[in-house]
Amino acid sequence: MADKPKVAFYWCASCGGCEETVVDLHEDILKVVELVDIALWPVALDFKLKDVKTWQPGEVTVAFINGAIRLSEQEEWVKLLREKCPLVVAFGSCAHLGGIPGLANDKTRREILANKYQRLPTVENPGGTVPQEKCRVDGYELELPGFWKQVKTLDQVIDVDYYLPGCPPPPNLVADAVTAILEGKLPPKGSVLAPEKSLCDACPRKDSKPERLSITEFKRVATSIPDTEECFLAQGYLCMGPATRSGCGERCIQGNMPCRGCFGPTPGSLDQGAKILSTICSVAEADTAEAAADYADTLADPLGTFYRFSLPASLLGGSRREKE
């Protein structure tokens, strides 16, 4: 037993879907457990921060950390895991790029707290109380983790060795990563453990993508049903495929949903949103400034669409905010 490498799983601002992908290994998880010991996995095993503090540095080989970072508690955990583990893998879109929780960078902290605790019609909070880091209740001082102004990616908080992209990462990529770690066959530090080509290259519909795309306006999957065979862009649905890394197994496409971009930008791209903007607008059916403006207005929420998974990792990082 003592010879088996130990691994840790930890979660930050995430939905639990990344934990699910580990469970989705099904029986194969038994093979994983034959090869490694799980030293930390809050979703399934009861370990506390104090247990992790007793680890010898290097005792646990790798930490798979999912979720974006917004709380001081999350910062404390990931910094401790970084200190103890020779390898840290950002697991899933949120740790990699900020993910869905990262869309909160579109709002200020004050707006978020006011909305959540004061404005929502279902909230009953006559005193207008918002969470405080410290408060006194019945003579006891209580503490809550600090809530940062912004959501951050894991690598904006600690040094990250590898990235497993996806929302959630597909089991085959997870298995490949674990195998690579066990066999010591890892690519250069900082690599994203997924193919380098864009999703379009792997897309089952790529043969129906016309040589010269031309889009007149954007349709929405909420109000119309896409054809099940034809390239989404050719039909006028915004598909993030051209600006997104492949390796996901094209699960959304097979479910007749256009790509939403969870695998993040292709290698060399600094900003996934700017890249998809460039792609889909260059092929607009618009030859005047007015027509181009009308075309742009058919897309309801460019920021939320282009940066659905990558706002904290984008060049601008989030909306401009008043100094609080």
């Binding site: 951050k152 600094l270 607008c281 990082g317």
Partner: protein
Amino acid sequence: MAEDQFEPKIVAFLCRWCSYTGADLAGTSRTEYPPNVIPIRVMCSGRVDPTFVMKALADGADGVLIAGCHPGDCHYQEGNYKTMRRYPMLLNLLDQFGIERERVRLEWISASEGDLFAAVVKELTETVRALGPLEWNATAPAAAVVESA
């Protein structure tokens, strides 16, 4: 000019065939225009990826000028049309980022329009000066990487 007046930094992406030559003409004609513009020569305005604009704004520019050949005059036939199609979506996106759309301007300036180049630079400089510094790094999330409250 008051000494403490805010001097905006404006990055100008100029197409090599028309607008850069137009800027050159403004210079050789000794037309005066504000020194706030930092010109970057690109082969075509169509080469100006929205990434460039965002990187400029994120890294300290207060405004951006994109200038290319007039529609129909593109050396590569339709490069400037691609720019024209991307520009309104870029502005819509910048709205959501909270960046005033007046900070990013698209103009068609031919090689013979040195005066127009000078006029555009003057106007944009004053517009951005009135808007004030963008200071993206001071207010943006990336600036606060280690700060924890």
